[in-house]
Assembly symmetry: D2
Homo-oligomer: 137 residues x 4
């Protein structure tokens, strides 16, 4: 399939409840922010993930990896650059770069793979118009 | 209805991810621990909340309050005393005392009210055998 | 002390990770959103909570209560109205109303009391200029 | 350095607040459970992570990856097998297998790399006795 090169940027501020006693964004919360970034990217494409689920298409995470480079602290605004790196019949792969806005320092680099499943959790083909939408940029 | 006086005690250790940068259990996480305590209490009664949901009975929170007295820190074992203070046809009220195990200091006192609803979110009568079970002690 | 009547409104979208298997915002997460609302209110006053902590003033929660009226779902935008209802030498009280933006339905009403403490957790007087700032509107 | 082959097993029950509206453990929460598993492993070695932090040694995550194989649901007991796969002067690598207890199905496989830093966040050598402790099995 044609592979996309589109890049989407979103910003999110680190919440107090997302820090831990080391004074930084707890690493598990990074995956919440990445999810936020890719669903906002979808919204920009004119589709919400909520509509997808209502239509019977669910995206479940099958793989995720992240490398941390620098800490993100409370109240830091993070800039998350998201790219779709690969779309297959049943999977969507994203790559992310997370930067601190105030100094541009790279906080993390990450990748995720989503699988498209139905209500029962069985893998299903990504709807053609979504695949097209995601691949065409 | 007859009102119960039963008391149930459970212990839970504060996780690293539950702390915030002040070095204490983030207050929002206390409500997660209270939920844990009351579902463990239910399990002791021979019923799991999972079974309740599978049977079509959902307990949703309609009211919660908490007063904090002392901080709970990472790795502290908390002792949560839970009592059912009132059972009506559609509601269950719990009261909680949370103590630090190592020194017995009172960390928090809390109360919650749960409403019984169906899959559609409409209030429904608590099943008789559950009401009896909860009220009889 | 003079009591404030100021009202601040902020909006926040419910994240996927904030829902639970009942398909609604988990009740514990409401307290994270209230914290967000009151710190954004502070920012509007020209002060960030981050600066307060850096200056040695910490606001810890001493009391919180919430009544839920209607569910908030994934991707719902919530409108949080925040008022400071009382400022004493060591405490700040807030009241909140949380509404669903798309239909204006009241989701929850809540109140919190914060205590001002120092790095060691000892109650300390709220700095005069902050108290003035908070009380003068 | 000598490389360890030790395996540690711990069990943890999925909390309601850890599910999302798909009815499964939200993927971000898996990393919280892995952290739990490795700190419990440390405790078994006679050391707590709390003591480490008090002594000035902090372990920060520098890399994490996870592959999900099957969903974990509310109230499922998960069996987490943890192995230390590599210890260098400044890093500790763990590998994990997460299984559902009731049917033995593999839920996820994961790997993490921790870096040892001081209070200021600067990489520091892992204390010799800890390195020895971790490597000797």
């Amino acid at each position: 399939m044609e592979q996309p090169t589109d890049r989407f940027t979103t910003e999110v501020r680190v919440r107090y409840a997302e820090t831990d006693q080391m004074g930084v964004l707890h690493h598990s919360r990074m995956f919440v922010l990445l999810e936020l970034a890719r669903t906002e990217m979808l919204r920009r494409h004119g589709l919400t993930y909520r509509q997808m689920e209502e239509g019977g298409w669910f995206l479940v995470i099958s793989k995720a990896s992240c490398t941390w480079k620098a800490p993100a602290r409370y109240d830091d605004v993070l800039v998350i650059e998201t790219r779709i790196t690969r779309v297959t019949h049943t999977r969507i792969e994203h790559a992310y770069r997370v930067l601190r806005k105030f100094d541009g320092v790279l906080v993390a680099e990450a990748e995720t793979t989503l699988a498209c499943v139905d209500r029962g959790g069985n893998v299903q083909r990504i709807p053609d118009d979504l695949a097209k939408l995601l691949s065409s940029r």
